[in-house]
């Protein structure tokens, strides 16, 4: 006899007949799989908190030697660092595992995705949901809270909204960088290293005031890969400061449209990559 349990979905995993329901079921299954290893999960969270703190230690050490960095005080740089890490942490949590694309290509799992009636990118994104990555987000939020008590901000409704949306917009920009650079995995077997150079590298750059970088790096990571829009430029708007290097003030408020453009670009790169994989592009 068939097991009667299989006739009805267990509580909590009921999926409606919608695309959102399908993705929801996939993400829930990933969380459930992690929850079965509780002690290792707690360790992972602790490790992520530690990584966040060690990264911040670098800023701390620099300021034990200097009063200002690129024209910004310790509290101001902490604000930038907090915004950047929050954006990166959220992106890493939601889409960070897309850099495993080369693994999925190599093992044929991507083919299995293509045999299902959902988008391949959507399935890749929902193939993991590492809650441990929340550790870094928590660190960033604590730093952000501390920095906000120390910096001098003239609060307006617009600035309050800006502060609240900046980590989310930053996450979208980093998410786009993750997806676009992961698509390299369609061409390169060792694509993960390439992706990480841009994502972790971008995270590093985004946590500092851009005034400390040379002009080539600054321009590249403002206008080509819009990392400056994750934390540095919104922080200028929050602090009511002009860009010391002369970028127009309205750019500081433009992270939203930039994030949208980044998503379009990332979607395009992904499509080209997938077309290459299926052989339509070559």
């Amino acid at each position: 006899m068939a097991d009667p349990r299989v006739l009805e979905p267990a509580a909590g995993t009921v999926a409606g007949p919608t695309v959102a329901g399908a993705y929801g079921a996939l993400v829930r299954s990933r969380i459930a799989a992690q929850a079965s290893y509780r002690s290792s999960f707690a360790l992972d969270i602790a490790a992520q908190v530690l990584i966040g703190l060690v990264e911040f230690a670098e800023v701390y050490v620099v300021f034990s030697q200097v009063e200002k960095l690129g024209g910004f005080s310790f509290a101001e740089v902490t604000l930038i660092f907090g915004l950047a890490t929050a954006g990166f942490g959220l992106a890493d949590l939601v889409v960070g595992h897309v850099d495993r694309l080369p693994y999925y290509v190599r093992t044929g799992q991507l083919d299995a995705f293509l045999l299902r009636p959902l988008s391949a990118l959507g399935q890749l994104v929902t193939s993991d949901f590492s809650l441990r990555r929340l550790g870094r987000v928590v660190v960033s939020l604590v730093l952000l809270a501390v920095a906000l008590t120390a910096v001098d901000i003239e609060w307006t409704p617009a600035r309050v909204v800006l502060l609240l949306v900046t980590p989310l917009i930053g996450a979208v920009i980093f998410g786009a960088v993750f997806v676009a650079t992961s698509a390299v995995g369609f061409w390169l077997v060792e694509g993960t290293e390439f992706t990480n150079a841009f994502t972790y590298g971008g995270n590093y750059l985004s946590s500092f005031p851009f005034t400390v970088f040379g002009s080539v790096v600054r321009r590249t990571f403002t206008f080509v890969i819009p990392i400056a829009f994750v934390a540095y430029l919104p922080a200028l708007a929050l602090l009511g400061r002009e860009d010391p290097l002369g970028l127009p003030g309205w750019l500081s408020w433009s992270a939203g449209p930039v994030a949208l453009l980044s998503c379009c670009a990332a979607g395009l790169v992904w499509r080209v990559g997938l077309r290459h994989y299926t052989g339509a592009g070559s």
Partner: protein, 318 residues
Amino acid sequence: MIVEVSDLRREFVVRRPAGRLRRTRDVVAAVDGVTFGIEPGECVGYIGANGAGKSTTIKMLTGILVPTSGTVRVCGVEPVRQRTALARRVGVVFGQRSQLWWDLPLQDSFRLLAAIHRLPASSAGPRLAECVELLEMEPFLDTPVRQLSLGQRMRGEVTAALLHSPELLVLDEPTIGLDLLSKERLRGFLVRERRERGTTVLLTTHDLPDIERLCDRILVVDHGRVAFDGTLPGLVARVGAERVLVVDLVEPGPPLSDVPGTTLRLVEADGLRQHLAFRAEETTAAAVVAAVSARVELRDLAVTEPDIEDVVRRIYES
């Protein structure tokens, strides 16, 4: 027709090092002008040697690969363009590409697939219960997929491919590595699936009993081309494969070298057992048996069918 393939071609670029820095670029056609059609309800065996282009063809049929030239239509749609629409109507088992989640209990995979295919519980439930019963999966439904044996996992894969009741089921080496009992259980299940639902089946295999048991039509591919399209008896007739009648006599007799339409292949135990080969198109087993028993007294007999591996090899050679 449920599958229509016309002059299908797929090339791959193979780069090889030539000298220290240069690389040569060769274009190899894995599928080289294949044309065939499959009617709803047929079961077609797609066979050929390794590298003959079977998997490449299947990838083009299921929308994973774009053809270099030629046309493919499956269930009336163009696979790559309408990949997700096609995925709802086709079930695929790739021997090496699992549809299951290795870290979840087997039945959680089924639940997820039902959600992915957006099946209402009213249709997914009974369908799953049916597969669970017929494939005897009940004892390991709660076992994580990574702990399943190959035979158990393959039953899970087949269920995963059939959960959404596809019109076309594509199986790539479904019985590879399975023990005899598991193979037979799977074949029995597929025979029933076809009978009950009229599901069209396309399968590649190296296992020739699969073909004898399941397929009413065979496509033999060789070097990217269709070398034969017809029935198994037709294939046997085409290459002139021989059936062999093995007779055991009551007492040792003279060599039976004069039976019409046969060739004496082997005489064992001083003529107590003799092997007579004959061609299906020249005579029948019954006629041979009659001719033999007119000469000697028979104790036992057996007819061995042609070895199909051998038949396929002959197709390649011809």
